[in-house]
């Protein structure tokens, strides 16, 4: 004895291979979940979005920076002409000594009656020379 359902379904048992083929076809159409972006896989968030997402490029860039830094430090101490303005400003005491020495040399070369202008007024002097209003 069979149920009507069994009778109905058994009627089409021979079609099963074709239905299996259709099932495989339909399964192939299932959209796969999209993988996360590569840069997230490296832990780089949106802040680092401008960096190239490929690790090889990042490594090459880092190596280039290291090379530039090494070349910079090697050329620095051995080349005296490469003294920068920043380095000069960083040593004001030596500058003042050089300046007073040159002034002394100039005094020696000039005749004794020559007036040598004094040093320019400092900021503090200028500050105290306020113009006064004559209220007559």
């Amino acid at each position: 004895m069979k149920t009507p359902r069994e009778v109905l379904l058994n009627r089409h048992a021979s079609t099963e291979p074709k239905l299996d083929a259709i099932r495989r076809l339909a399964l192939a159409a299932i959209p796969h979940p999209t993988p996360a972006p590569v840069r997230r896989a490296f832990g780089l968030g949106s802040r680092w979005g401008l960096l190239p997402p490929w690790p090889r490029h990042a490594l090459a860039l880092a190596a280039l920076w290291v090379l530039i830094a090494v070349l910079h430090f090697e050329s620095g101490p051995s080349n005296p002409g490469a003294q920068t303005a920043l380095e000069i400003v960083a040593r004001p005491q030596s500058l003042l000594v050089q300046l007073s020495e040159r002034r002394r040399q100039i005094r020696e070369l000039l005749p004794p009656e020559t007036e040598f202008p004094g040093p320019p007024p400092t900021r503090s002097l200028l500050f105290h020379r306020r113009p006064t209003l004559n209220v007559a």
Binding site: K2, V7, L8, E16, L19, I22, A29, I30
Partner: protein
């Protein structure tokens, strides 16, 4: 094959998440019932296979629109039903409806239910089902194949509940008559190819 009900554990949430294994389970479970339903309506193998394929592809695309996972079977058969309608229209079949049956909704006594069939009655049963008018055949197939409730069948076919009740009642009655009739009478011509469904 067990007849499903609302308690059947189908991997619908997993399928919604894109799991191929879940879809495999669902397709295996429903491929033959859907085909049987489509063939019962269309009576053509190739058209029925097309309906199965289109039903599955639509299910993959639109599973997100299914609100209640436990209604997956009814939802899937609803798609198959629509595909059968489209196939009927493409084939240019007669769209006359068998509304004469749906007009008489008063039950004149319950027809005997065909719960179990003997082996020798199987072919007669299939022939009797095939000879039913398409609207009744559709309702009967949904009832027997998946044991859908009348409400569910109404939802699948888009017909009012009263119409579904009437169709099922008359389908059972006609089936009983055809099975108990002598062989010469079982070939009573009923337009089996007319378009089945319209409220």
């Amino acid at each position: 094959m067990a007849v499903p009900d609302d308690r059947e554990d189908l991997p619908v949430p997993e399928a919604r998440a894109g799991s191929s294994e879940a879809w495999e389970v669902l397709f295996r479970r429903f491929q033959r019932p859907v085909y049987t339903y489509a063939f019962g309506i269309l009576h053509d193998e190739q058209s029925s296979l097309d309906v199965v394929q289109e039903t599955f592809l639509n299910a993959i695309r639109h599973l997100g629109s299914l609100r209640e996972d436990r209604k997956f079977a009814g939802w899937l058969f609803g798609i198959a039903h629509q595909k059968c309608l489209q196939a009927c229209r493409r084939a240019g079949r007669d769209e006359r409806l068998q509304e004469a049956l749906s007009a008489s909704e008063a039950d004149s006594g319950e027809a005997p239910d065909l719960r179990l069939l003997r082996e020798e009655d199987a072919s007669a049963f299939l022939a009797a089902v095939d000879s039913l008018p398409a609207p009744q055949r559709s309702v009967l197939l949904l009832h027997y194949l998946e044991d859908f409730s009348l409400d569910a069948i109404a939802g699948i076919t888009g017909a009012p509940l009263g119409t579904v009740k009437s169709r099922l009642h008359h389908a059972r009655k006609a089936l009983h008559c055809l099975l108990n009739a002598p062989p010469s009478r079982s070939t009573v011509s009923v337009s089996a190819n007319s378009l089945p469904f319209s409220p």
